[in-house]
């Protein structure tokens, strides 16, 4: 329980940050209202942790304990749960994610939408503090930085792939890998056919 208290202390700033963001986006906050009083339990198997997210007064409450039966429970390893949060698409489509869901799919979908699709007009909120002109200038700088970082990241990935494949010869080229997989598939099919023929000989 002392550990729980420590987790509680660590969750408090996170909860405050999430609710501060929600307060800036009333439309998203309204999406929480249908889930008032409901609780989602997230049980992480590796490492063994649990987190309860409850909706109260259109705000989120994060806690390591809950005295009530949760309305929905997501169970999975930390990596599987993070992948689920990061990927697009419907949250209740859990096929192949390594995460299992027990209870209300609507609650899971709703909360995931709120957490991943917070649509904040940063420039507007910034302009209330700094005024219009600096906010607009900062917005342009931020946008340019974002584009540059994204472009550099993509180029770095390409260059790294070329270096490893062509310069160092550490990894095979994509076409080589595809040809190898095709050969393996062909071999697999031939083996199946051979096995079927042997089975037919045995039967006759």
């Amino acid at each position: 329980m002392s550990l729980g208290l420590l987790q509680s202390a660590l969750l408090l700033p996170l909860e405050a940050a999430v609710n501060a963001l929600l307060a800036l986006d009333p439309l998203t906050q309204n999406h929480l209202r249908p889930f008032e009083g409901q609780t989602l339990a997230i049980r992480c198997t590796e490492p063994s942790l649990q987190l309860f997210i409850s909706v109260h007064a259109a705000k989120l409450s994060l806690s390591p304990v809950c005295g009530a039966q949760p309305n929905a429970t997501l169970t999975g390893s930390a990596t599987a749960l993070l992948k689920l949060l990061a990927r697009g698409g419907k949250a209740h489509n859990l096929h192949g994610t390594g995460v299992s869901l027990d209870g209300s799919t609507a609650l899971v979908g709703g909360l995931r939408e709120v957490l991943t699709e917070l649509d904040l007009d940063w420039e507007y909120h910034l302009s209330r503090i700094t005024g219009d002109l600096p906010a607009s200038a900062l917005g342009r700088v931020a946008e340019r930085t974002r584009t540059t970082v994204a472009r550099s990241g993509a180029r770095l990935r390409e260059d790294l792939s070329d270096y490893l494949t062509q310069e160092r010869g550490l990894t095979p080229h994509r076409h080589e890998v595809e040809a190898f997989y095709a050969a393996v598939r062909e071999l697999d099919l031939r083996l199946d056919r051979l096995q079927a023929r042997l089975a037919a000989f045995d039967a006759s």
Binding site: M1, S2, G4, L5, S8, A9, L12, E36, G37, F52, H56, A57, K59, S61, S63, V65, C66, G67, A68
Partner: protein, 253 residues
């Protein structure tokens, strides 16, 4: 005790006092500390009392529309935590036996923009002035220790809890680890000094230290909760047993 001339006594800290005098003595302590009660709580608990109350709130499992009694609620911080969880249709009753504490609590709630679902009651925990089965949840945080007849208070809480409801008792308790116990003893010697500095009142915090020592341990309190009528009782140690949260459930008879 059998002698009719000999008065029944109870403990007030380490002192034995006549039963009928304890409430007034405890009242004196809280009249004295009411003004800066929360500040002193922060000082002696190093702020952890806020976290522990949050923790207790999560264990209460209250839902919108329910009725909650914040017993010995004093300065109203717990009521303010409960209030948004109960919504417009729910209600928190902030009750305390001490007028000064209740006054501080009421002022604080009004200053916080009174959410509209909190009401106040000057009430003695031993004989709660509410109808049977009035509350979905009763919560008493750091209050039971100061009640003269704890068994009567627990029976009164049982009577006013709805079937299916629960009682939460957050109270100082007995550390499990003897080393932690020693360190805690040593630390609590600082409380009367802090009381002297902040409130110019060392005696009230000397009483606080002594009353914690005299309070029943986790297992004894669980037995008392069950004896009051609650069908189930579980407790959670907090910070190695320095505090404990007992939850008594009133199931269908």
């Amino acid at each position: 005790m059998n002698d009719s001339n000999q008065k029944k006594t109870t403990h007030f800290g380490y002192r034995e006092v006549p039963v009928e005098e304890k409430a007034a003595l405890v009242g004196g302590v809280f009249h004295s500390v009411a003004r800066k009660y929360d500040l002193m709580n922060d000082v002696v608990s190093l702020g952890t009392h806020r976290l522990i109350k949050r923790f207790t709130l999560e264990l209460s499992a209250v839902r919108p529309g329910q009725r909650v009694l914040d017993l010995a609620g004093g300065t109203g911080d717990f009521s303010l935590l409960f209030s948004p969880r109960l919504g417009e249709k729910g209600q928190v009753v902030l009750a305390d036996i001490n007028e000064s504490m209740l006054r501080v609590g009421r002022d604080r709630i009004i200053d916080a923009g009174n959410p509209g679902n909190i009401s106040y009651s000057l009430a003695n925990a031993e004989c709660l002035p509410f109808a049977d089965e009035s509350f979905d949840c009763i919560c008493i945080a750091y209050g039971l220790r100061n009640v003269t007849d704890k068994d009567a208070a627990l029976r009164s809480m049982y009577r006013t809890t709805k079937i299916g409801g629960r009682v939460l008792i957050l109270e100082f308790s007995t550390p499990r680890n003897p080393l932690l116990g020693k360190a805690y003893d040593l630390y609590s010697k600082f409380w009367p000094i802090a009381g002297k500095i902040v409130l110019n009142d060392a005696a009230s915090y000397q009483y606080l230290v002594e009353s914690i020592r005299m309070h029943p341990n986790q297992e004894t309190l669980r037995d008392m909760v069950l004896a009051a009528g609650f069908q189930r009782c579980e407790f959670h140690d907090v910070m190695g047993g320095i505090c404990a949260i007992h939850i008594g459930y009133r199931d269908a008879a």
